[in-house]
Point group: C2
């Protein structure tokens, strides 16, 4: 059943081919000095950077450049960004990029006016912000993380070999996000596919938990079916605007808290994937893909009815004459077939993980409950070995 | 495909059996004088009124009573409510009831500081508010209209025999809504069923439009499946908390703009139903139920692929060996069977409409486009006659 919950998500979304122009509607609401956050050179090569700078200039903004946000933004980079924001008395943080840039912007946002070390405060001690927050806006260039409409932020500490997330309160969500599906088309195909799997797994992690009848699970199935359908079109033709737009929109709703309202969730695949990311720096979605089937096959016997439902509703498995176990197996088999078809990493070896790294990854794995079966450390090691 | 759109919905929702206590979190954000809006005596009989007043008193609020909001709130009542708000310099409007109370509260909200006659300004001339808006909160006691998380407001003018709606901007949406499924259990069964059909039809009106592949349509199917499933439990046992909570949550998402993002919509069933309501004062959901099958059977040949999809995805119609027309017919037949099972009005005669009223209803019907076939006035008359 739907448990007790509250829901608020005030991010304003501008979606479509024309959406960048609405940056003009938003900028006047914020102060003069804008920290412009982006990653490597891709937004410069594809012209998005120039288009954004032109609009910032037209709105009389002073730009503070904050380039070089890496795919897994680090605690060191975060500390640099906070210093930059303080030195320039920044009024607004504008992230132009994928989830990494947006996650990083939120981390800077809650840290500028706070004395503590942000890594220690938010990602180790999981404290809440007790200082003024700098507002964030986002211009999204990669679909996947959902960071554009949520308050989540994942930061990596290479020295400590940890990649940890903090889900802040609704006040940390971006004030606006600009979603132009064409901006995602400049991505290499492998990045697109990684994002698609990230979306799918976000939905799985909210779906595979609880035994109740719940509207959220119906919506989760809808989002899964839409992203599966569009992914098969997009891998054939990455320029298909319809498919890319559905993927982008599905990503947003897969992780903006809607489908977890009133239900348990099980984020263990993310915990395992993030630990792999902390050790290998592999692409986020691929780390999830590599560990998810071994994980779900491990927990399936404890949550069989939901895996049966998944098989029938999401993959169209015909149940006639089959045991529940057979139906559930067939569903995961169908999921495996789809994963191979779109081309995600099917095991950790592909990501450079070797058996001698398993213990370190297990050490970096945060164990959460909420799922059909709570793993102990041995269970984590088993799933990781099965994922090699 | 997903067209260009913007989306923002900042209503804070508190959901669950404990949700009323969160009124204490919200009241301090607003001024001292609260206009307490409710309908007949039901909220007094079931204790909800007393519980709300206790919280208002504990928060030091001055209460301005605004009782007697009718199921189809009238322009005259609206003018009285505006007068009351002005005379008492009201700071906040708190609606305790169903969609009627919430719609009415929004209408008062945009009219208190505006000199024009609100019926003429908003419902006849469809102008936007150009005056300060009084904030609205909602404590919902009936699931159906979705008014708790949108900016829609429908008002009836009996003299002019018109029932017209205005969808305002996001600033008119309730600041918060309190959704306690137990509060909906005091409703008579016929009211519950009417609300359930209202939900279902809201989804249909956003679904049966456009030929494109669109994530919104997948979500629409999910909401339809959830409400069908839970409705069958709730008509057997109206006290089933799980079913009533899913119905309540589905109602909110069926009409808070999400599933119409980036796509065409076809609100003709609402236009027909509202015209019936203007002439007969019949319960809103029942007016929709009475006209919807004749309407959808009329437009079906022009949107056959969507009706085929509806049959297969929502009703599980097996397509093997059938023409598209047969599949689509079977889908609408299944919908008809479900409507009979839950006990909605299956024709206009049940609502007291006679053939001599058809012309007046047609006169009151606003013709919209967006659907698979745009009716002319003769088409409206034909659908109404087929609904008798």
């Amino acid at each position: 059943m739907l448990g007790n919950f509250s829901y608020k998500n005030a991010t304003k979304l501008y979606f479509g081919e024309e959406s960048l122009k609405y940056l003009n509607n938003e900028l006047p609401k914020y102060g003069k000095t804008v920290q412009l956050i982006y990653g490597g050179g891709s937004v410069k090569r594809n012209g998005i950077y120039d288009a954004v700078v032109e609009i910032l200039n037209a709105n009389g903004k002073t730009i503070v450049e904050d380039a070089g946000v890496m795919p897994n933004p680090t605690a060191d980079k975060l500390r640099e960004g906070v210093k930059l924001a303080r030195e320039n008395s920044v009024d607004f943080l504008l992230a132009v990029g994928g989830g990494s840039c947006c996650d990083y912007a939120k981390a800077v946002s809650v840290s500028v006016n706070c004395d503590d070390d942000p890594w220690e405060k938010y990602y180790i001690r999981f404290e809440e912000p007790d200082c003024e927050i700098i507002p964030v806006g986002c211009i999204l260039t990669m679909a996947g993380t959902g960071s554009e409409m949520n308050a989540g932020s994942v930061i990596t500490n290479h020295e400590q070999k940890l990649k940890l997330g903090h889900v802040f309160g609704e006040e940390v969500m971006p004030k606006f996000s600009i979603l132009n599906p064409r901006f995602t088309m400049t991505l290499p195909k492998r990045q697109m596919v990684s994002g698609i799997y990230d979306i799918f797994n976000h939905i799985c992690e909210q779906y595979f938990s609880g035994e109740d009848d719940n509207t959220s699970d119906y919506i989760a199935e809808a989002l899964m079916k839409s992203v599966i359908h569009s992914s098969l079109i997009a891998v054939e033709n990455p320029e298909d605007y319809e498919a890319r737009s559905n993927i982008m929109w599905t990503a947003t709703w897969a992780l903006n808290t809607l489908i977890s309202c009133g239900k348990q969730t099980d984020w263990m695949v993310h915990m395992l994937g993030q630990a792999v990311g902390a050790i290998t720096d592999a692409t986020h979605g691929m780390t999830l893909a590599a560990v998810s089937l071994p994980y779900y096959r491990t927990v399936m016997p404890c949550g069989l009815p939901k895996f049966v439902r998944f098989a029938k509703e999401v993959w169209g498995v015909k149940p006639e004459g089959k045991t529940d176990k057979e139906i559930a197996d067939e569903g995961l088999k169908a999921m495996e077939g789809w994963m191979k078809q779109i081309g995600v990493a099917m095991n950790l070896s592909e990501l450079g993980v070797t058996e001698d790294m398993i213990e370190a990854i297990a050490d970096a794995t945060v164990i959460l409950d909420g799922g059909y079966k709570v793993l102990d450390r041995d269970g984590v090691v088993e799933v990781l070995k099965a994922s090699l």
